[in-house]
């Protein structure tokens, strides 16, 4: 029904899609799989006309098409439901569904017809909801279904669902997948994007895997196992990963160390399911899991960036309440967010000001760090972490990503934390800086600092960690001792949800 051939798309300095072909059949759910940055979103945007192509063709029903934008794509029968629900919560369900294409009678909107049409569409999805209810009062799942209903309102033959389940709970997911199946049975071609391996296997008939903008392959669901899929997404042959040296200390070194933090059944609804975890001083605990598996959510609970709605945390055996980042800081826990720009740095402030911020916050405003000491600290960490340009008064916003990461790291290191949580500290930075940060983590832990290390790169996690916590679908599925642990085993656990 739909065929994209040899698509190439370049953005300044990066090839987002390189010779990617993709096809869709009526009455079939086709999953598009790949890690972050693999090119999934770009492919969808090329398909729906948000981006033009640099090379390659798109055919719909055998006729060549080039949509000028989502509107035109929709009129030709290609509808898209984006990850974030793009609806107006203050309007009614019916108004949302018919927004922009309200049935009119003598120049006025025919409200009765609007409601009737909305109800009919929702009935097709087996959703029972009052169409005159305000959308914001409905659950996220219903909102997601309303978004789909809106997409179906035009004569859609191709439906693109970009991460439709990312904010739904298990029951809601099942409802949505049922809707997807019933639409498929009605002959629609559905493009399904999800980070949840389980859902993909439950609903997809066919999968296409992308990696770094390249097509890895197209598979029928029955031809491929979850482990194969994950391997292809991550792009490391299992055999090649097996000979990774465990450069970190062995498990026995830290077994005798006192437990610093003890989490018992800590969880947050919509974040991560309750988990229990002990972290010892001097121990590096790696978090492994695909994007969206709950790695960041777990880390945020340990710091107090979000507060848990179940369970309890003990530090040095004493029960504590980690409600705000401030309480985390007071208990000498540090959290380097993966979102440097939005959650880490204050871009218009200088390198020096950003570095001293957390330390200053813990001292309170009335006890300023003397300027000379600030300069010393900044100089020392600029040198130690090789921050460039080596100018403490440079605006942080002007630094490159890797250097910004080092500034953020420096901010937390000067607070002398007992537990350092690093969320993707090496993402998007060059190999040299990466090695430096890894070495730093190993050194800090040997000095007795506990570290929680999150990375999408399994290699890195295995190299540094004493233990690996494996997450999947927002729950901890296993805690593995990194004693002769192989990437193979971790990947199998990530894919299947049980330790092998």
């Amino acid at each position: 029904m739909l065929r994209m051939s040899h698509i190439r798309k370049e953005f300044p300095g990066v090839v987002a899609l390189d010779d990617v072909s993709f096809r869709m059949f009526p009455g079939e759910v086709h999953a598009l799989m790949g890690e972050n940055g693999a090119g999934k979103s770009t492919l969808i945007k090329v398909l729906t006309g948000v981006h033009g192509v640099d090379a390659g063709t798109i055919e719909l029903d055998g006729a060549r098409v080039a949509f000028s934008g989502p509107g035109e794509a929709q009129r030709s029968g290609v509808s898209t439901v984006y990850q974030e629900v793009n609806l107006c919560p203050n309007l009614s369900v019916a108004e949302n569904i018919c927004l922009g294409k309200e049935p009119r009678r003598r120049g006025r909107i025919d409200w009765r017809e609007t409601r009737r049409r909305a109800a009919a569409l929702l009935a097709r999805l087996d959703v029972e909801v009052d169409v005159s209810a305000e959308l914001g009062s409905c659950s996220i799942a219903v909102q997601q279904l309303v978004a789909i209903a809106r997409a179906l309102d035009v004569e859609a033959r191709v439906l693109v669902l970009d991460e439709p389940t990312s904010s739904l709970d298990a029951g809601e997911v099942e409802q949505l997948l049922n809707v997807v199946r019933s639409l498929r049975d009605q002959g629609m071609a559905i493009l399904f994007v999800s980070h949840f391996i389980e859902q993909v296997f439950a609903v997809a008939d066919r999968m296409t895997v992308l990696r770094n903008g390249k097509l890895i392959g197209e598979y029928r669901t029955e031809e491929i196992t979850p482990v194969d899929l994950v391997t292809r997404m991550i792009g490391k042959e299992l055999a090649a990963l097996e000979d990774i040296e465990d450069a970190g200390q062995s498990r026995s070194d830290v077994a005798g160390a006192p437990v610093f933090l003890e989490a018992g059944d800590v969880g947050r609804k919509g974040g991560v399911a309750p988990f229990s975890l002990d972290i010892r001083s001097g121990e590096v605990v790696g978090l492994a899991g695909l994007l969206g598996s709950g790695r960041t959510e777990l880390a945020r609970l340990l710091f107090g960036a979000d507060h848990a709605d179940s369970g309890s945390v003990r530090i040095d055996g004493e029960p504590v309440s980690l409600k705000t980042p401030r309480t985390g800081l007071d208990h000498r826990i540090a959290f380097c967010s993966e979102n440097r720009k939005t959650e880490g740095l204050v871009e218009e402030l200088t390198v020096r000001e950003n570095i001293v911020l957390a330390l200053q916050a813990s001292r309170g405003w009335a006890r300023p760090i003397p300027r000379r000491r600030q300069d010393e600290i900044a100089e020392r960490y600029i040198k130690a972490l090789d921050i460039r340009p080596a100018n403490a008064e440079a605006k942080v916003g002007d630094l490159s990503g890797g250097n910004q990461q080092k500034v953020l790291l420096a901010r937390w290191l000067i607070t002398e934390p007992r537990l350092l949580i690093l969320d993707e500290p090496t993402r998007g930075i060059d190999i040299g800086a990466k090695t430096e940060i890894q070495r730093l983590v190993a050194r800090l832990s040997s000095e007795g600092m506990a570290v929680v290390f999150i990375s999408a790169e399994l290699e890195e996690v295995l190299r540094l960690s004493h233990r690996v916590v494996v997450l999947r679908d927002r729950a901890v599925v296993a805690v593995l001792d990194n004693e002769a642990l192989t990437a193979d085993q971790v990947m199998a656990t990530m894919a299947e949800g049980v330790a092998r």
Partner: protein
């Protein structure tokens, strides 16, 4: 030097003064009479003192991404309460009674600041709405205090605040300078400035760095209301009366304008107290110029509107991009921006 953020506001101020010199040479005449200095320049300082004070308070609020529309109302309330207390005294010239009146007025201003800060920092109401409440209600409160009348007072110690002279200079400007000095020392010698800039620059990053942002934001509203309270005393002392209806009317707009001219962006973050003082002086000079040149006072609002328009346009990224595109040969946007402010003046 053109890179310095205060360069263009200062140039704009000097350009305006230069314009005055050319159009009206007597503008700069300063007389020494009865041990006091008189003249247009002195008038600018004296009449500009309340605006300078409020602009200082407003700067910190704006730096946290907030805004305080209620300062005009606080001006009216503070003046009303002080005059009410004074008018009830047997001896209006008693220093003790005047101090009590001032203390009561500032105490009430503090409470009003706590109220604003509570709405914004604790309840999370948008600052423009939260302070709009007091902006509207405050006039009513001031009217209640004065009983709908204009209360006149005859107290020398009180008048000193508004129209008195010390060391030959207007006391009002000395008070404003003192507050400026205290605020500057407080924000730059303690860590307050850095923390406020972080909260305004990136609230989530600030939170994750362990800042108690709510408390900080609260503090800025309290400080702003206190500044407005002092300004209210000056304004009422200057005219020896309290007018719940007209005192401090539209001063919130002037203060916001002064802050923006001074280089503090309404989107929060980096702020400059000195810039705001220069901005306030620029606005006051504009007003005095209009009077001195014999232009109808009704036109003042129009002049100010032109300045507001120019500043707003230049803060709009779209407009700046268009401007930069149009004059590709000219220096890039940072230099373009304040030139326009001048043109608007």
């Amino acid at each position: 030097m053109t890179k310095h953020r205060l360069f263009w506001p200062v140039v704009a101020l000097l350009a305006l003064l230069l314009g005055d010199l050319i159009a009206h040479p007597a503008f700069f005449a300063i007389e020494f009479r009865d041990g006091h200095l008189y003249g247009n320049l002195i008038d600018i300082l004296k009449n500009g003192a309340p605006l300078i004070l409020i602009a200082i308070g407003m700067t910190l609020v704006v730096a946290t991404r907030g805004i305080d529309l209620s300062v005009g109302a606080v001006v009216a309330i503070s003046g009303a309460l002080a005059c009410l207390h004074l008018s009830g005294l047997g001896d209006q010239n008693s220093v003790g009674g005047t101090l009590a009146a001032v203390g009561m007025a500032l105490g009430l201003a503090l409470v009003l600041g706590l109220w604003n800060g509570w709405l914004v920092a604790v309840l999370g109401i948008q600052p423009i709405i939260a302070t709009l409440i007091l902006m509207v209600a405050g006039r009513g409160i001031a009217q209640l205090i004065t009983g709908g009348q204009i209360i006149t007072v005859n107290s020398h110690p009180y008048e000193w605040i508004g129209s008195g002279f010390t060391f030959g200079l207007p006391s009002a400007i000395l008070i404003a300078l003192a507050v400026f000095a205290i605020a500057a020392v407080l924000v730059r010698r303690s860590a307050l400035g850095l923390l406020v800039e972080s909260v305004g620059g990136n609230p989530e990053a600030g939170r994750l760095a362990g800042l108690r942002s709510a408390r900080l934001i609260w503090l800025t509203y309290v400080f702003c209301a206190l500044c407005a309270g002092i300004a209210g005393l000056m304004i009422s002392a200057n005219v020896h009366s309290a007018d719940g209806n007209n005192a401090g009317q539209f001063i919130e707009l002037d203060a916001i304008l002064a802050v923006v001219i001074g280089g503090t962006q309404l989107t929060g973050g980096r702020f400059s107290l000195t810039g705001s003082v220069i901005g306030a002086l620029l606005i006051q000079t504009l007003t005095t110029t209009v009077y001195a040149l014999g232009i109808a006072p009704q036109a003042i609002m129009l002049f100010k509107a032109v300045v507001v328009l120019a500043v707003c346009l230049l803060q709009s990224p779209v407009f700046r991009k268009k401007l930069a595109r149009r004059r590709k040969t000219a220096p890039p946007s940072p230099a373009v921006r304040p030139e326009k402010v001048e043109a608007g003046v």
